[in-house]
Structures are given as structure tokens and as C-alpha cells.
């Protein structure tokens, strides 16, 4: 009984830590550019297919294909997204941009479906999935390494944002772009960096989560929704918040599926979301923004 609980908890944490990566990217982009990216789920779906292209069409080894996938993701989902979609549309207003990212999501999803495949594709696992025994709980090594790696990435990202000059400039830009500009921060460059980091986080999440399922064009729908909700639950304006939100959803999702209902597990994020908005709209760790209009 106890060992089953531990098992469910650990694998929930492993999936949750990957959700957290996506949620953190989402929160970063929101802070730096006030952009809600409704294509975030597709941003996680696409890199896996870029890796498959590297493997199957360019005959790269796995590590080469992963690097290729990461580089292409940063280029397409980071730089091109910022330059071609966000920059020209942001001045027209937030809602217009949201609609544009929804259209972008459709574009990515349908392109993968038409140009690669509509069927789920097996995706090579980075880590071996041998079962290991922790205090009586049988957990796959893959889950443990996923958890360790994603937490490691979060720690590195936090160190980068807090300890380096560029990271601090990025934070200043997120907090108050006008003042940051006056103080000599290259605001445009910092915003671009945020988009690149978001793309890299989405790609890493993609490489970790896709072996668990299959690479499929429709993967983004659920992933994107969970990432938004994780970011909101944890606190939109904090990296820690997105991390906590991701882990929480991963664990609760697993617990609900095991102990309560498997049919309605997908309803859990919605219920959490509504509860959080009613009780603590700024999120568990967020700070209130103090305006109602």
C-alpha cells in the first residue's frame, strides 16, 4: 500500500517536473513580453519531430539529432516566433496576439500531421527504463533521471537569472522595461533571450516527455493546457510558482488516476484552476498585482 503510494508519487513528480519546464517557459515569456502563448503545447510537440527528422532523414546519431532538434527549436520557436509573429502583432494588442498564437498552434499541428505523419511515432528514450527499487516502490530509472534532470535545469536557470549580469538584466526588463532601458539594459535583446530560453525549455521538455508517450501531432493540446494551468496555479509571476504548480499537477493527476477516477483525470486541472482563481487568484506563490481593471 505504502509502496504503491510512493510509486505513484515519484512518477507523478517525474511527469510534473517536465510540466514545470514548460510552465516556466510560459511564465518567463509572459513576464518579459506580456505574451500568452497558446501554441505552447505545440512548442513541446514539435521538437520531438525535429529530432525524428534528424534521425531518419539526416541519419544523425541520437545525440546529434537531439542537438539538431534543440538548435532548430531555438531558431524556429524562439527567434522566428519572436521576429515574425510577436513583434509585428504585439502593438495591435494582447487579444490579437493570443488569436495569432492560436492560429500558429493550428499551423504547427497541421504541418506536422501533413508533412510527417498522423500516426504516433515511437521516440527513442534518452535514459534506460529499467525498473529500480526505492524503499519497496518499483520506479523506472527513466522517471528518476527525468526528475533529476529537469530539476537540475530549473536550478541552472535560476542561477543564471539571479547570479549573472544578463540574467539580472532580464529580470529588470521583466519588472519594468522603461526603467531598465533608462539604466542601459538592451531591452530588446533581453526579450529575445527570453523567447530563446522558452524555446529551449520547451525542446528539453519535449525530449524528456515524448519517450513516455509517442510522438504525435496532437500531443500539444493536453500539454499546453497543463502548462498554462500549472503556471496559474503556482503563480504567474514567479519561476518557483511555475515549478510548484507543475509538480503539484503531476502528482495530483497520478493520485487521482490511481485512487479516484481514471475517466475524469483530465478534469482535475480545471477544478484546481477554478479553486485557485476563487481562493487565491495570484497563485500559490505569486504576489498580487493589485489591479482589477
Amino acid at each position: 500500500m505504502m509502496s504503491q503510494f510512493l510509486q505513484v508519487l515519484l512518477s507523478g513528480l517525474a511527469t510534473g517536473s517536465i510540466y514545470a519546464l514548460v510552465a516556466i517557459g510560459f511564465a518567463l515569456v509572459w513576464q518579459a513580453a506580456q505574451t500568452i502563448n497558446f501554441a505552447q503545447g505545440e512548442f513541446v510537440m514539435l521538437p520531438a519531430f525535429l529530432v525524428l527528422v534528424g534521425l531518419n532523414y539526416f541519419d544523425l546519431p541520437l545525440w546529434g539529432a537531439l542537438l539538431f532538434g534543440l538548435a532548430m527549436s531555438i531558431l524556429i520557436l524562439g527567434a522566428a516566433f519572436k521576429k515574425l509573429v510577436v513583434e509585428p502583432i504585439l502593438p495591435h494588442g494582447g487579444i490579437t496576439l493570443v488569436i495569432a498564437t492560436i492560429a500558429l498552434g493550428i499551423l504547427i499541428r497541421e504541418s506536422v500531421k501533413e508533412f510527417y505523419s498522423a500516426e504516433g511515432q515511437p521516440f527513442p528514450s534518452i535514459f534506460p527504463s529499467d525498473p529500480i527499487n526505492i524503499f519497496g516502490a518499483v520506479v523506472s530509472l527513466q522517471d528518476i533521471l527525468n526528475l533529476v534532470l529537469s530539476l537540475g535545469i530549473v536550478v541552472l536557470l535560476t542561477l543564471f537569472l539571479n547570479r549573472t549580469r544578463t540574467g539580472r538584466c532580464m529580470q529588470a526588463t521583466a519588472q519594468n522595461p522603461a526603467v531598465a532601458e533608462i539604466l542601459g539594459v538592451d531591452v530588446k535583446r533581453m526579450v529575445l533571450y527570453t523567447f530563446l530560453i522558452n524555446a529551449a525549455l520547451a525542446a528539453l521538455a519535449s525530449f524528456l516527455i515524448t519517450p513516455v508517450y509517442l510522438a504525435k501531432f496532437s500531443n500539444g493540446e493536453t500539454l499546453g493546457l497543463i502548462a498554462f494551468i500549472a503556471a496559474i496555479i503556482g503563480g504567474f509571476n514567479q519561476i518557483r510558482g511555475a515549478l510548484v504548480g507543475g509538480l503539484l499537477i503531476g502528482v495530483l493527476d497520478n493520485l487521482v488516476a490511481t485512487y479516484v477516477t481514471a475517466e475524469y483525470r483530465a478534469a482535475l486541472p480545471l477544478i484546481l484552476l477554478i479553486l485557485i482563481i476563487l481562493v487565491r487568484p495570484q497563485g500559490i506563490l505569486g504576489t498580487p498585482e493589485g489591479r482589477a481593471v
Binding site: 493550428i106 480545471l270 484552476l273 477554478i274
Partner: protein, 326 residues
Amino acid sequence: MAAWLRRILIVALITLAIAAPLGQGNYIIYVMTSWLVFSVAAMGLNLTLGYAGQISLAQASFMAIGAYTTALLTLAGWHWLAAMPLGVLACFVVGFGLGYPALRVKGHFLAFVTLAFNTLVFLVLRNEEWLTGGTYGLVGIPRPNLGLFSTMRSLPFYYFTLTVTIIAALAMWGIVRSPWGRAFRALRENPIRAESLGVDTRRITLLAFAIGSMYGGLAGALIASLVQFIEPGSFGLAHSLRILLMVAVGGAGYFFGPFLGAGVVILLPEILRFTEGYYLIIYAVLVIVMLIFVPTGMIGMWGRIRDRFIARPVARADLQQGAQLK
């Protein structure tokens, strides 16, 4: 546009809508009817998006609520005219309950709540087989019989849908023109000014969303009778996004935008049939390009072309933008 020109245009459009299906095959009449149905759904979303400035990603699930309520009741022997109002009312209540928490706070929370809600409705429709028939859906939904005028054939049903659409459009016209509707507009133009003039922005936005959802329910009631078969897959998130893009493409915040947008989204697959699977890709690219250059949609595009050829005096253009106090 001058008032008389507008009136002539509207009369011409209605005449066209009455005359167009005459002598056409069943398929073309079916496409035209679904254009009307989606225009109703998009009209409701336009109130939420274009007038109140909130994104709802659940219009398809409100269609589902309207469609399933109407279908279950008409299958149980109720008349469509009695079943439809219940479906529409259910949408108002659900919309109110959903919007209440989401609109308490600033930001695009409604978008996320409705996004998740759409998934939830889909799950309920699929899992609660005893009520909704699960993935098999509901079959053999009757079309309304109006005494002398039976709508079982496709042409009478088209005229029936057209009548309902015109009534719904007139009601929307009334809403937008009423003091309430003006409050919606004030809210969209400048929320801070609206609030300081005593407009209860939260209540107004909530009402706009709930009323917009009712139009979704009405469209659902119509589509249940049109297709005579409903299943959860017809009300997924993809359909909500489709309705949202209809509003954006036509021109959010313009009264006739939804009709135009729905027309484009319904007819484009027919025109682009030769592109087969690439249709959605082409469409998505077109939408993004349009948002970059003409964010106000096709009606905005027309306005821009007109302004280029017909110069018009503008009184105090500096006042149009407001003081930009945001």
C-alpha cells in the same frame, strides 16, 4: 456608412439569402444552413470578444450544451420551440457560473477557464453514456414541425434557420444599441474610463459572456436539428478555436463581422478542396498574415480600402485615441 446605404445593403443581403438556395442541390443548401448556424455561434462570441474584450474558448461546448439539451428533449417528444429555450437558458446559467470566478481578476483568466471547460464538457459527453450515448452520440433527432410548415426537407429547414438567425441578429442589434451595449463598447474602448464613469465593468463583462454563451446554445439547438446526429467529437476544442477564428477573420467588434467570418471559414474548405489536407495550414498562415497587417479583420480591410479612395473629414483625430492612461 450612410444610413440609407446600410439599409439598402441589409435588404439586398436578406433578399439574396432568401433567393440563393432556390433550385440548388441539397448539399449546397446544407452548407448554407451551416453557415447560418455558425454565424449565430460567432455572433455570440463576437459579443464576448469584440465588445467585451474577453476570450472565450468554449463556444463549441456551449453549442454542445444547447445541442444535447435540445436533442434529448426532442427525442423525448418535446417540440423544438419548447426544448431550445431550455438549452439556451442552460448555457446562460453555465456561462454565468463559469464566468463568475474567471472574471473576478484581471487578465486572460476566462480564456484558460473556458479552455479547460471545453475539455471537461467533452469528457462528460463521452463518459456519461447513459445520458449522452457516449462516443456513439444521439441519432435521429427530429426537425421542428411548425403545423403547416414542416422542416423535414432541407429547403424549409434553411428558411427556418434563416428566420431564427434574423431574429437572433435583431436581438443582438438591440443589445448592442441599448445602454447596456453602450456600456460594453465603453468597456472595450477604455476600461479605466468606463469604470470611473460608473460602469460596473465586471458585471457587464460577465453578462456579455453569459449572453454570448446563450447564442452558442442557440446555434447548438439548430445544428442538432440540421445534422440530426450529434456526437462529442463535433464539439471539441478545435471547433471552439474555429469559431474564435471566424470572429477574428470577419472583424471582431463589427456587427457583420461574424457573418463574413463564418462564411469564409465554412466556404474556404469548399474552395480550397483541391489542396486536400493542406487547407488548414493555408488557412492558419492566412490568418496570421491578416492579423499582422489588418488586425481588425476583413471588415477592417474594407474600411482601409475605402479610406484610401474616399477621403473623409476627421474631427479632432487627436481625441480618438483617448489619453492613453493605461
